[in-house]
């Protein structure tokens, strides 16, 4: 009798747990009626395609699957592999092919993928596809981008499925991550900041998705707010991604012109050239207008200055492949927390860009909420 009751209680718990998991991981999407009336502008779609760096991942790699160089930027048959601590991601075909690409997707399907990380049929998409940034893009820009993608050649391709370890191989678990970091809210301009700063903030936080590589992440894989843009271990294993905040560790001695010039030409102020993962990004930035590159530079200069998120001792260590792999998560998590006690992290209060930077972020839930920044705005999914 007693045993039976205990079993029943256990069963109830399991069921309750399953229900909670189900609810927590429910895909959150918006209906087509949420879209504004907008006639697609192909030229702007093409511009957003460059600003968003779509081809960096979705164009076909030149030789090996991890080659940074790609074949034609307009042929988005996928096939790149991203080797991360979670496993290997194989980048999908996003050409308009109906069978192996996204040719059957409607505009609202595309927007739900970009803003909520949900594919047609309620499939959770992995955030290696940086929708945690793309969600800040406006509906208009996304409608234009979709129209541009539709205009590109449809190609068939055979991309293998992702090879991820448990529990990352269960897509549904991403629902929890999305609750924390994704709300689908478009970028909100800061009324106190200049039009240039707001444009720069939009390009950096939205399509440019700069924070995705330049920020350290916590154990859940979410960007640590206090260490945003302060550098990170290379998510693909080797090396570090530099601190781009205007601090001594970062690029405090660069002028706005230096930053804009780097984005245009790939040359640092010392006339070293950037390479690796940033090279294809820079080639895309070179396609933007001078005004937009200047706006990005102005916004980057207005970021709160921060010390390196990756300690100097570890910046040297990662030179060996093995070292950078799975342990990077834990290490990346601890550092900025211990650093957040230092006064430098208080740079939040920067008058101009502070608001512009903090408003569109969602990560606040994980670390202490940024000073004055809005707590998680009510998400559409609620």
């Amino acid at each position: 009798m007693k045993l039976r009751r205990a079993l029943l209680a256990l069963l109830a718990l399991v069921i309750a747990g399953a229900i909670v998991f189900y609810l927590l991981t429910m895909p959150a999407t918006v209906p087509a009626s949420a879209l504004p009336a907008h006639t697609p502008d192909l030229a702007n779609g093409k511009y957003m395609f460059a600003a968003g760096g779509c081809a960096e991942c979705h164009a076909v790699p030149l030789k090996k699957c991890d080659d940074l160089k790609t074949k034609e930027k307009e042929v988005l048959a996928g096939g790149r592999c991203l080797k991360t601590p979670f496993g290997v991601f194989h980048v999908p075909n996003i050409s308009p092919d109906k069978e192996t690409g996204i040719g059957t997707w409607t505009t609202i399907d595309f927007i739900n993928a970009m803003k909520h990380g949900i594919g047609p049929g309620g499939v959770h998409l992995y955030p290696a596809f940086p929708y945690s940034s793309y969600q800040r893009m406006t509906y208009e820009d996304l409608i234009d981008l979709k129209a541009y993608l539709d205009s590109l050649p449809a190609v068939k391709s055979d991309v293998p499925p992702h090879e991820l370890s448990f529990p990352f191989n269960i897509r549904r678990t991403l629902g929890v991550w999305q609750k924390l970091y994704v709300d689908g809210e478009s970028f909100t301009p800061d009324p106190n900041a200049s039009a240039e700063l707001n444009r720069g903030a939009y390009l950096v936080m939205g399509p440019g998705h700069c924070a995705e590589c330049h920020s350290s992440r916590n154990i859940l894989g979410g960007i640590i707010e206090d260490a945003k843009f302060a550098g990170a271990k290379n998510p693909e294993g080797k090396g570090t991604v530099p601190n781009i905040t205007p601090s001594d560790d970062g690029i405090g001695d660069w002028s706005e012109d230096d930053i804009a010039y780097l984005l245009e030409t790939g040359n640092t102020p010392d006339f070293d050239v950037i390479g690796e993962n940033m090279a294809p990004v820079q080639e895309n930035m070179a396609k933007l207008t001078d005004e937009d590159r200047k706006a990005i530079a102005a916004y980057i200069k207005s970021l709160p200055p921060r010390p390196d998120a990756v300690p100097k001792s570890e910046q040297k260590k990662h030179e060996h492949k093995e070292d950078a792999a799975p342990s990077s998560e834990g290490a990346a998590e601890e550092t900025p927390e211990s650093k957040s006690e230092q006064p430098s992290a208080g740079g939040e209060e920067k008058p101009t860009a502070g608001g512009a930077e903090e408003k569109p972020t969602t990560g606040g839930a994980e670390e202490k909420p940024p000073a004055g920044g809005a707590e998680e705005p009510p998400g559409i999914e609620d």
């Binding site: 940074l68 160089k69 080797k238 090396g239 570090t240 530099p242 012109d257 010039y261 030409t265 790939g266 040359n267 010392d270 006339f271 070293d272 050239v273 950037i274 390479g275 690796e276 090279a279 910046q315 040297k316 030179e319 060996h320 492949k321």
Partner: protein
Amino acid sequence: MRKSIIVAFAVLGLGGFATVAICAEDLAAAVKDRRHLMKEVVAPAAKLGGQMVKGVKPFDAAAAAKAMNEINGVPDKYVKLFPKGTAHGEIADSEAKPAIWEDFKEFEATAMKLKDASAQAATAAGEGEGAFTAAFNNMTKVCKDCHQTFREKLKE
């Protein structure tokens, strides 16, 4: 007899050890020399030219041509400084990706493009600021192209 054998072995052993030691030194020297060429010869010259292009410094045709000619002298020496065993991870301070030795000819060809590009920039300097800017930007594309494929950047 036995003594002489021991001595012979000892000498051989020492000799072998010395050979290995010299090799390791050679490899380290190659890394040092090639980095010196890039950091002390190419980078300052490129910076001088680049500052003129950026408008930080006034355009000076003679100085620009001189800087480009300095760069022009580097590639021939540079590509000879990549003995096997000097890839990033195999030896300290190396920024050389293993891809260099997967197809050494391709690496050589890519690096040697700097020779033509710098020669063109030197000539263009004599044709005025606009010509120099175009040729200089073309040259830095060559830099980037090679670095993207063959350099593993170390944090200084």
